[in-house]
């Protein structure tokens, strides 16, 4: 009987101890739960100031009914009908700024060569640092700036073009950096194409008459929350014409949430917690092991094409490769499929870094040589584009070159 009592007491004690352990375990699990970052999107309606550059180099774009006209018109119309803006103010900008007290259709109709040539201000040169400084200075908590420009530096005939754009880049960096100290700014740059019929001014202010497709740029500058709302309410599909490329610069806070999903998968594993998997076994038929990670990238103002390009990610283990799919699953916006064909799945802490890098198109469509516009491959390029983008990028003074970090423990404890 004594043995029986001892055995029963031992069982009761064991169950009681396990119960306490469970309580501790649950509390711990509750503490490590990372809740999705609420989308940082402003609910307030901002005032939108639209600045269209009207220096001489812009006149070639001005033609009723061309892509330039369509793109600007559709953008402004979308801003109006989407309910994004509280009000829209329209300006022309060169060395000075001129407010146009007209409605959108009149403003669009007003962009014609006759009007353009009669505006006041210095129409002969473009000081990009000064222009960006002006439009950025008009950004407030409830105001965003839209700046339309060909973004071509024009240093003038007697200046060293390379030195000039280098100095302009530093000027942009310093000006923007100063503003970032007081405002969490974000910049969207859209590169568009349109018919250009007129005089093209190169970096030496020499002009060549061309009739071809030329790039121009729309910059959207505002507080990060306002830019997030802009991207949400005015997707790029709303901009008619020939939108070719886009890039958003912003300060990343590296707070994306993620979790390993049970499906889709190839092979088997046991999920210990959202970031740890154990007992992995590859599929014998395909010789692969694959698991999926649901990620919420909604807090990043990054373009979809950038997010879904595996080349923009860096993996800590070369045995793994990834595929990124846009798929809304609960709180997750994307699914990262992680695959390995290794025979043995070794214990590893797999780190996936989303790189913070300037997209290739900036380099591809930038010119620093000031070559003749009619020479091979020059037509889609913009003199000094890289310096503008690099100047703004440098202003953020990123400590590391990553936008987000995902860590998955495979066959090992965190």
């Amino acid at each position: 009987m004594d043995k029986t009592l001892i055995n029963l007491l031992a069982i009761v004690f064991l169950l009681s101890a396990c119960s306490n352990e469970r309580k501790r375990g649950n509390t711990l699990a509750a503490n490590v739960r990372t809740y999705p970052n609420p989308a940082i999107v402003s609910q307030a309606k901002p005032i939108v100031n639209v600045y269209v550059e009207n220096t001489g180099s812009m006149f070639g774009y001005i033609s009723t009914g061309n892509d330039f006209d369509r793109s600007i018109s559709s953008l402004l119309t979308s801003i109006r009908v989407s309910g994004y803006a509280d009000s829209i103010n329209l300006f022309y900008i060169n060395s000075r700024t001129f407010k146009q007290n007209v409605d959108i259709p009149t403003f669009i109709r007003g962009i014609n060569i006759h009007n353009a040539q009669t505006w006041a201000g210095d129409l002969r040169r473009t000081n990009m640092c000064s222009l960006l400084d002006t439009v950025t200075s008009k950004v407030y908590d409830n105001t965003i700036s839209i700046f339309v420009s060909d973004c071509i530096f024009s240093p003038g005939r007697n200046n060293d073009a390379s030195r000039f754009i280098g100095a302009e880049k530093d000027c942009i960096t310093m000006n923007i950096n100063q503003k970032l100290k007081s405002q969490n700014l974000a910049f969207i740059v859209y590169r568009l194409l349109s018919d250009f019929r007129g005089e093209y001014y190169d970096c030496q202010n020499n002009f060549t008459r061309i009739d071809n497709q030329r790039p121009y740029f729309i910059w959207i500058i505002g507080k990060r929350e306002n830019i997030a709302a802009f991207k949400q309410k005015i997707p790029t599909t709303k901009i008619e014409g020939q939108l070719q490329n886009s890039y958003t610069l912003f300060k990343s806070e590296n707070n994306v949430t993620y979790a390993v999903q049970l499906n889709p998968t190839i092979g088997n594993f046991e999920r210990i917690n959202p970031t740890t998997i154990n007992r992995t076994r590859r599929d014998n038929d395909s010789g692969k092991f694959m698991f999926s990670v649901g990620v919420d990238f909604s807090s990043l103002l990054v373009d979809e094409t950038y997010l879904t390009n595996p080349q923009n990610y860096k993996l800590s283990n070369p045995n793994y490769r990834i595929e990124i799919i846009k798929k809304q699953m609960g709180n997750h916006t994307h699914l990262i499929r992680v695959t390995t064909t290794a025979n043995i799945i070794s214990p590893t802490k797999l780190t996936i870094h989303l790189k913070n890098r300037i997209p290739n198109w900036v380099d591809e469509f930038s010119d620093e040589t000031c070559a003749n516009i009619n020479s091979n491959g020059m037509m889609p390029k913009t003199f000094g584009l890289k310096q503008i983008v690099n100047g703004i990028y440098a202003a953020y003074n990123y400590n590391d070159d990553i936008l987000s970090e995902i860590i998955i423990n495979i066959n090992q404890n965190p």
Partner: protein
Amino acid sequence: MNMIRNIYSWLNPIYGNELYEYLKGNDCDGVFVGTNHFHTIGLSMLVVTLILLVVYYKVIDHPRFNRWWHWMIFLLLTGVFNLFIGFGYTYSKLNGGVIPACFTHSQVETAQDGSIYGVNGTEILFNSNCWQFGVANAIIAVAFYVVFSFGLKWLSQNCKYSPV
């Protein structure tokens, strides 16, 4: 109770990872969000097993019922009862539609209200998984029956040497 959950986890290859994650009380991301179903099932399994042992060793406790195969009959009863407990519990959850789609389907989509639903034809959790869980529950119950027998048989006057 973590020990009981761990025991059930050893047998999850029998009934499937998805059902195991759901019964653990996890959400689709593997985060514990409450109702650890292994508590309910595990306690039921222990109570049923103990009741049958008490019935055998204390209530019946008869000299004509003290051979090893008599003990074996109650072992089988323990297995069968727990098979149906395990099956019934999971079957009611599966067919009651309370198991999230990420555990029941290999492909899920998100509705406009943010909820997820399984894509038809991608089901991965079936009634057979419920039977398999019942089998796992029966195996665990039988193991506990054997272990508890050695502690409880000393309560008996006539069956204390059953099974050995």
